[in-house]
């Protein structure tokens, strides 16, 4: 029972860590990577809650809001850097 969510969280952490390395090491691609990071998290949320049968509009909007907020922050900091 514990293995499934752990794998899911581990996959999220690995994906985000890999994208973060690209973000920090390739300044020219930061804009694109920022969008990919936000999109990855949003899709991860949708997929995980879909599997759990807990995918509702409020959950979708929550992931959308957090992803959008993080992406916006990353894009602006990249533009200033």
């Amino acid at each position: 029972m514990l293995a499934k969510p752990f794998t899911s969280y581990a996959a999220l952490a690995v994906i985000l860590a890999a994208l973060s390395l690209v973000f920090l090491n390739f300044p020219a691609s930061r804009f694109t990577i920022s969008i990919i990071i936000g999109l990855s998290y949003f899709l991860w949320g949708l997929l995980t809650h879909f599997k759990d049968k807990t995918l509702h509009l409020s959950v979708i909007l929550e992931y959308l809001a957090i992803s959008l907020l993080a992406t916006t922050i990353l894009i602006f900091i990249s533009l200033r850097a």
Partner: protein, 287 residues
């Protein structure tokens, strides 16, 4: 007061067992605040000189010293400062600022070599390194040394001369420190060059200070970096959200409250990664 704070930061019946700060409406407000603050920073940066910008400590003298230090460390002769190359670098910087491009070749197709020719520098070998938005000279050199092509320019045996300019100006809509470094060897020069004694940097280096040379330079040095301000604001917001999520998750788990919501641990991982990125990001681009 305590009731309001409790409503904002802890799950309870009044906020449907989810900290109000984590509601979609609150997250949307944060998003709007981030966007408005960035528009304001850009507006102030453009319209109120001396308030926001890049508080850079980069000087051409430091860059030439560090470049020659790297060459010396690798057993190479030191580059000599060439006034013609410095003039070409100045023209290249002015061209980028006036025509608003960040590239080795201008939108009209002018290559770096055009600027060499315009100052009558008849080159046998020539190279160009560009950098922008760095805060100190060591960071510029470190970034160039990490890039194979820029490193090749700095450590090339083919070059004898160098010209560097550092420009502080508004570039592509934001206050910027722009660095143009040109390398060259003139036709007829013997390679490898013999170290003839280096001309003092102060003599010919073109450190463009505000109000000189290039059109459009601002008259005041900014006292606050727009990058550092954006970074501080972003880190603060991320820390607030992380704290609220941790607090919210602990209370929900302790009280065994079942609610329809996103996964707290996932939000923590995501915002944790965001925090690491914000802490790790450094200003500066090279080309």
């Amino acid at each position: 007061m305590i009731k309001t704070l409790s409503h904002l930061f802890t799950p309870q019946p009044s906020n449907n067992y989810k900290a109000k700060t984590l509601h979609i409406s609150s997250l949307s407000i944060f998003l709007i605040i981030v966007m408005i603050s960035q528009i304001l920073i850009s507006f102030i940066g453009k319209n109120v000189p001396g308030v926001l910008g890049i508080a850079s400590s980069i000087t051409a003298e430091d860059l030439i010293d560090l470049t020659n230090q790297k060459r010396q460390d690798n057993g190479l002769t030191q580059l000599e400062i060439n006034p013609s190359l410095t003039s070409a670098a100045m023209q290249k910087a002015a061209d980028m600022i006036n025509k608003n491009y960040w590239a080795h070749t201008s939108p009209e197709g002018r290559t770096p070599w055009t600027f060499f020719k315009e100052v009558d520098y008849q080159y046998l070998y020539a190279g160009e390194n560009l950098a922008r938005d760095f805060l100190d000279p060591q960071s510029v050199i470190n970034a160039w040394m990490k890039s194979p092509t820029h490193r090749d320019n700095i450590l090339s045996r083919r070059y004898q001369d160098v010209g560097i300019v550092v420009v502080h100006d508004t570039f592509q809509g934001q206050p910027t420190t722009l660095v143009v470094q040109l390398f060259g060897t003139q036709i007829g020069s013997a390679l490898p060059s013999v170290d003839k004694g280096i001309q003092p940097a102060e003599a010919v280096l073109a450190e463009i200070t505000p109000g000189e040379g290039v059109a459009g330079l601002k008259d005041k040095i900014p006292f606050l970096s727009s990058f550092q301000l954006t970074k501080a604001m972003s880190i603060s917001l991320t820390l607030i959200l992380l704290s609220v999520i941790i607090f919210d998750t602990i209370i929900i788990t302790k009280k065994k409250i079942v609610r329809l919501s996103g996964k707290g641990l996932a939000h923590l991982i995501f915002l944790g990664i965001l925090l690491i990125l914000l802490l790790g990001i450094q200003p500066g681009l090279i080309l």
